[in-house]
Each structure stands twice: as C-alpha cells, then as structure tokens.
C-alpha cells in the first residue's frame, strides 16, 4: 500500500513539475516575443543625422534642449524645439504639456519616432525631477557625439 501511495505521490509531484515547466516555457516565450517587438533603442542626434533612422520606428532620443529653440506651433499647444548634442541637431515636435523641469539647456529624453520630413514627433518627453540631474541618455548622446566634457556632473 505504501508503495502505491508513494507512486501516486510521485505522479502528483510530476504533474505539478510539468505544469510548472509548461508555465515557465509560456512565460519565457511571451517575454522573448515581447522583447522582439518592444525593446526601444536609444539614439543621439549625431547618430540620427549621420546613420539615419527609419521614419515611424519608435526610439528614445536624448540630448540637450538647444538655447533659443523652444517655440509654439500655430495651434498653440504643439511645442517645437531642437535637441542637440552640440554636434548635430534634431527638430522635435511635442503636443501637450511639457514636464515642469523642461528648460532650455537642460538634458531631456523623448520617446517617439521620426516623420517623413525628419522631424521627431515625441509622444512623451521626460525631464527628471531634479535640476542637477542629467538624464543618462543625454550624457550618452554627447559622449557618442564626442562633445561630452568631463567637468560636467555625471548622474545625480
């Protein structure tokens, strides 16, 4: 009797183990599929200008808001500005309310895609909650463009 009991126990355990493995497989598959479509790459202005990015492809753009470049489009709600890495420039349009710490000369990160005219249509603009903080993407953009100065504070 104890033998058969042990066997049943073993079988019950195997069921659980198999269910677990199946679940693991499903979640790994889901994760891989999702990774394929949803990883968002990061580019700086220089890379966009020199290597080009397909219009419509979502990516993150980092850099500094160029001085004297911020304006409003005629509709009164679309913000236009230029993101620079002090080497190349990208024009950005963002409809909506800019974050509280958005300033000229500040580092920002924007999520969006280029349109056919090469303008970056942002769906989201991030400036961090601290004025001394430089978004790592903005730093990275300037490093890639070779315009990063080490006197600037890194991180927060």
């Amino acid at each position: 009797m104890s033998m058969s009991r042990a066997r049943t126990r073993k079988r019950a355990r195997m069921t659980v183990v198999f269910a677990g493995l199946a679940m693991l497989g499903v979640s790994v598959a889901l994760a891989l599929l999702a990774f394929e479509d949803n990883i968002v790459f990061f580019y700086g202005p220089t890379e966009i200008v020199e290597q080009g990015v397909e219009p419509g492809q979502n990516f993150r753009l980092g850099g500094l808001v160029k001085e004297d470049s911020v304006g409003l489009a005629n509709d009164g709600v679309t913000n236009l500005f230029i993101v620079t890495d002090n080497n190349a420039n990208v024009e950005v349009a963002f409809k909506g309310i800019l974050p509280d710490l958005f300033r000229e000369g500040q580092g920002i990160v924007a999520l969006g895609a280029l349109n056919n005219e090469g303008r970056f249509i942002a769906s989201e603009v991030l400036a961090k909650h601290d004025e001394n903080y430089m978004p790592p993407e903005a730093v990275e953009a300037m490093k890639r463009a070779g315009t990063w100065k080490h006197t600037q504070e890194e991180g927060n």
Binding site: A12, A34, N38, V40, H129, V139
Partner: protein
C-alpha cells in the same frame, strides 16, 4: 548633541544586533536555554536603540537644525510640519534609517506578540532577523550616516523636492517599507525553519499572519505611490512600469503567491519546500528592489561605477543574504517530507496554479526590469523596456489567473469536481455574458481589449459574490437564512472575498484608465470651452494664490453637464520659493464612475494657457479596489489573531524543542 546621541544609538544598535544574531542561535543549536532566551530581550533593546536614533533624526528635522548636513540638504524652515517629518525619509540616509527601524520593529513585534511561539523557532527567527539588521546597520554607519555635521552652518536649508511635498507621498515610504521589510519576517521564519529542519502546520500558522501583515502594508504602499503619480505628476497615468515601481511590484507578486501557498501548508501540510522557497524569494526581491532604488544603478550604470561604495556594499549584502539562504535551502530542503496529496483539480491545485502564474508574472517583470541593465553592463546597446513589453507579457498571464480565481474558491480540498463547479457557476457565466454585451455596447468602437478587461472583472466579481453566497448556504438556506449566515462567516472568508472583489475592481479601473481614457489638449483663453465626453468645460481665467512655501497661478474652470454646473476645478501651477522649482497640480473631480482631470500650463502669453483635460472612466474603482485589498488584508488578519491563540494551550513550559502533535492538527 541630539544628532550625536542618535549616531551613538545607532552604533549601540549594531552591537546589540550582533549579539542577537549570534548568541540565541548558538543557544538554540546547542541546547543552552539561557543563551537561546536572549533573543527576545536583545530584539527589544535593538528596537529601542534604533527607535531612539530615528527619533533623534526626526527631532533635528523638527527644529530645523541645519548644522546637520542631512537636514540642510533636505529641509527648509518654512516647510509645513508634515513635510518636516516626511523629509526625514525623503532622502537616501533617512530612508535607510526608516528601513532599519522597521526591521527592528518587526523583530520587536515578534518578540512581544510571539510569546507563545516555540522558543527554538522564535530565537532562531530573531537571530536571522538580527543578521539582516547587522548588514544594514553596517551599511548605514559606513556609507550613509544621516547624522553628519556640516560646517559652516548654513542659514537656510535646500528644501525637500516639491514633488515630494504631498500628503500621499509623505506616508507612502513608511507603508512601502513596512511591506518590503515586513517580508523579512517570513524570510527569517523560513531560514529558521531550514536551520531547525522542520516545517509543519504550526509553522505556517505563525508565518501566515506576518506575511499577511507585510502584504497588506506593501499593497497600501504601492497603492499610495500609484495614487500620488496619478494626481501629482499631471499625466493622468497610474502605473508606468518604471523600474522603481517594478522594484516594489515584484515582491508584491511573490508575497501574494506566498500568502496563498502558506494556506496550503497550514491546511494540508504540503507544498512546504515551495513555500519556504517563496519566502526566501520574496525577501530577496525586496532586497533587489532596495538595491535598484538605493544604489543609483537605475539612473546610470556609470553613476554606479563612479561612486561604487554604496552600490557595492548593497550588492555584497544581496549576495550574502540571497546566496546564503539559497545555499541553505539547497542543503536542507530535500529533507522536508511532503504531506497530503491532492489531485490537479482541487483547491490545492488551484492555489498551485495561482502560484505558478504569479511567479511567472514576477519573472517576466524581473526580466524586463533588469534586461537593460544586463545589456548595458555587458557593453551592449542602450535600450529601454517600456510599457508595451509589460502589457504583452503581464496581461496574458493575468487573464487566466483572473478567470481561475473565480473558480478556485469553489473547488474542494484534495479532489475537486470541476464539472460540478462549472454547472453551479452557469448563472455567473450567463450574467457575465449579459454584462459584457452591455459593456460592449457602451464602449463600442473604442478598444476590443477593453471588453476583455471588463468581462474578466465582471466574471471575477460575480464569482466571488456567488462563492460567498454558497458558503453561507445559498440556495438551500433561503434568502433570509443565507443573509443571516453570511454575517457569521469567519473573518478570513470575508477577508478573502473582499480582497478578490478588490482585484475585480482594480482590473476594471485599470482597463478604464489605460484603454477608455479621453484626452483633449487645447490652447485656451478666458471664456473658451472644451468639450469632452458629456462635459463642457469653460476656462474662467486665472488668479494668483499664495501657499506656505510657494506661490501659484490657479486656473478656474467650470464643468457643465446638460447645462447644469457640476463642478468648479482649480488646477495650479506652483513655484516653490526655496528652489524655484515648478510643479503642476492637477484638479480632479469624480462621480465614482469616472474622473474629470484638468491640468493647466503655459505662461499666459496673450492670455492663452494650455489646458489638458482627461475623462477617465472607472478610475475611481481602481482606488476603491486597492482599498478593498487593504480592508480584506486587515479583516483576515483580525481573524488570524484569534486563531493564533490556539497553539497557546499546547505550548506547555516543558517540551520546548518540539511542539506537541495536537498543534499540527487543524
């Protein structure tokens, strides 16, 4: 002087914690009762030291003593009292002190409320708890001392980040930490059980209330943070799958699984080693969350490499705690005997499914959160993993979980009758279909996935209510009989049902927030009208307002529906004196079905301000659902306390090392 006393108390706490982590464990292992019984007094002493230290830091904040660097950097004499207090944990050093205080608090609670715990288990648990304390106290004293003095003494402080000056966020960290750190107790219990080599129903009965307490606080903490993001950040979102959010969500998923598997250990004496593993994983995820948030590694891997002291220290703590406990698990867990058997279709089976899906969800969140870090460390591309990834992995795992969640409580232990249950649930199914069709008409042409979300939420809510009715004797007992028996059901049953209803509401609210939201952004002058959903919103102009430490431009809006004025809304744009920082304060009005959310910005050139208006259906349910989760947690907890008294009787003074067999019987 007070600051120095606080620092001294912290050093004292380190010594006490060191004693607590060594002597009681040694005593329990070698049978020296005097040493074993030192666990409780040392836990109390450690708590008193840490609490004194925390009080000292609070005091220097209250009197605005800017000679303490931490106060000067994070406070301001004009700051309202609440934010002077919350400033204590609104920074790295202070939040660590809060962390250590809560760690000690839980040790204290176990030593006080755990009088009837088997002494061996109790002292080992407190020893393990003290080991964690030692690690974090060392970390604080060597890298993050909050009591450092500053010279010359500045006349005024730098103020707390204005975004953090908010009642919701003031109490968010303590709750979150009570949850995070509360998981340490189940971890300590698990490690103690591994050292002792014994896990039984009594063990689970002790672990469950502590896990439940931690889980309830963690839920409250996450909900408060999400609520804060919703009304303070001005984007109208409640969850961004931001790494910092994920850092608290992973332990929550794992703690939720633990909560459920501990039930199986308690009732059926099986799934023991899995439960132990979950307890270890849950706290490990809490530690990893702390590491992610506190080491600066999320801002930039480079920032971490440039200032490695703190990061490396936490990483080391992480490796020792996680590695050590897993090694212990690998060594001792195989000795644990499995208990009661069950069929795949049974209550146990349903809870196993719950555990598998929650663990898989935690794993995908973990992968998405850490993948960019791994890639960057490996020198690869700089990428980010955003909400689309999480929506694509997390949601498909949640849908079967939510459907099964409706069925699970109907199944009986050991061997369930799925066909019978489905038959019994046919009315639930029918009503779900009807409600879904109605919802489908209401949201027609908006988003097909929204319908799935609403249908699942309806199913879960109805199934939960039906299960409660069945438990109270419906339909045999009749309407009045069922009603009367409903109130006599154990509080744990109520707690479960309330929490599951909360989940249904959260699903509905999240569906509304993410898929049914309407948004209008317009440039508005005085008298302009924005139309959204059934509302007409008139911009009446702006006025200047003065706060205690800020000045604001306040917009005045009138919302009308069917030509009747329903609400006046006053969104603000604030500028804080000390830092010159600006924040956006949204104005939100709710009728419990939907929220109207107005934000103002712009500088008023030519009298034009940018107005952003959201109509957010079902979002109030999201917060209501969170509240139900918390109420359910406490409700269940109040039941547990009564039942925890049960082992009291069998814990006679003599046979300390092994609890009597009657205790293991349910």
């Amino acid at each position: 002087m007070v600051a120095e006393l606080g620092h001294f108390a912290l050093i004292l706490a380190l010594f006490v914690a060191t004693l607590q982590s060594v002597i009681p464990l040694w005593g329990a292992q070698t049978g020296r009762d005097w040493a074993r019984d030192l666990a409780a007094p040392t836990a109390v002493a450690q708590f008193l030291c840490v609490a004194f230290s925390f009080g000292a830091l609070t005091y220097v904040y209250l009197i605005s003593d800017f000679s303490v660097q931490n106060v000067a950097e994070n406070s301001h004499s004009l700051k309202p009292l609440l934010y002077k207090i919350s400033g204590v944990w609104g920074n790295h050093e202070g939040s660590l002190l809060l962390w250590v205080s809560i760690l000690a608090l839980f040790g204290f609670l176990v030593s006080v409320f755990g009088r009837d715990l088997p002494p061996g288990l109790k002292s080992r648990t407190l020893s393990v708890q003290a080991m964690i304390s030692v690690g974090f106290l060392l970390f604080m004293l060597f890298t993050s001392n909050p009591f450092l003095r500053l010279f010359p003494v500045p006349l005024e402080g730098n103020d707390l980040n204005p975004l953090l000056q908010d009642p919701g966020l003031a109490i968010h960290p303590p709750f979150l930490y009570l949850g995070y750190v509360g998981c340490s107790i189940s971890f300590s219990f698990a490690v103690a059980a591994l050292i002792e080599g014994k896990v039984d129903a009594a063990w689970a009965r002790w672990v469950r209330p502590w896990t439940l307490l931690a889980w309830t606080f963690l839920t409250a903490g996450i909900a408060l943070g999400s609520w804060w993001a919703y009304y303070e950040l001005g984007w109208g979102g409640f969850w961004y799958w931001d790494p910092v959010e994920n850092a608290s969500f992973m332990p929550w998923l794992s703690a939720t699984a633990l909560l459920h598997s501990a039930i199986v250990v308690e009732k059926r004496d099986t799934l023991k080693s899995w439960t132990i593993l979950l307890a270890i994983v849950t706290f490990s995820l809490s530690l990893i969350g702390t590491f992610l948030v506190r080491s600066g590694v999320l801002n930039s891997v480079h920032a971490f490499a440039n200032d490695p002291e703190r990061g490396v220290f936490i990483l080391l703590l992480l490796v020792v705690a996680i590695g050590g406990s897993f090694a212990l698990y690998a060594w001792r867990a195989p000795d644990m005997k499995g208990g009661g058997m069950f069929r795949p279709i049974s209550r146990e089976g349903a809870l196993v499914l719950n555990n598998l899906l929650l663990s898989a969800a935690a794993a995908t969140v973990f992968l998405g959160t850490l993948y960019p870090l791994f890639l960057e460390v490996a020198g690869g591309d700089k990428v980010s993993v955003g909400p689309p990834y999480f929506n694509a992995t997390f949601v498909p795992l949640m849908i079967p979980l939510l459907i099964a969640l409706g069925i699970g409580p109907f199944l009986s232990w050991k061997r369930g009758d799925l066909f019978g249950v489905i038959q019994r649930m046919r009315f639930v199914f029918l009503i779900t279909v009807v409600v879904s069709i109605l919802a489908g008409v209401a949201v027609w042409g908006r988003d097909a996935y929204a319908l799935v979300g609403l249908a699942v939420a309806t199913w879960l809510a109805l199934a939960t209510i039906a299960e409660m009715m069945k438990r109270a004797g419906w339909p045999k007992a009749g309407l009045t009989g069922t009603w009367r028996r409903l109130w006599k059901l154990p509080r744990a049953a109520w707690g479960m049902s309330i929490a599951h209803l909360g989940v249904a509401l959260i699903v509905a609210g999240a569906t509304g927030a993410s898929m049914l939201t309407l948004e209008v952004v317009n440039s508005t002058r005085q008298g302009d009208v924005i139309e959204i959903a059934d509302y007409e919103i008139t911009f009446e102009g702006v006025r200047e307002v003065q706060g205690p430490n800020y000045a604001a431009v306040q917009g005045v809006y009138t919302a009308r529906k069917d030509d009747k004025t329903i609400w006046q809304l006053f969104p603000e744009k604030r500028r804080y004196f000390a830092t010159g920082r600006e924040t956006t304060e949204a104005a939100i009005e709710s009728n419990l079905w939907s929220d109207l959310y107005v934000v103002i910005s712009g500088d008023g050139t030519n009298g034009a301000y940018v107005t952003r208006v959201y109509h957010k259906p079902l979002v109030p349910w999201l917060w209501l659902g969170c509240a139900l989760l918390i109420v359910g947690g406490f409700m269940s907890l109040s039941d547990r306390r009564l039942r925890v008294g049960a082992p009291k009787r069998s814990q006679a003074k003599g046979n300390m090392m092994s609890p009597s067999p009657t205790q293991a019987a349910e």
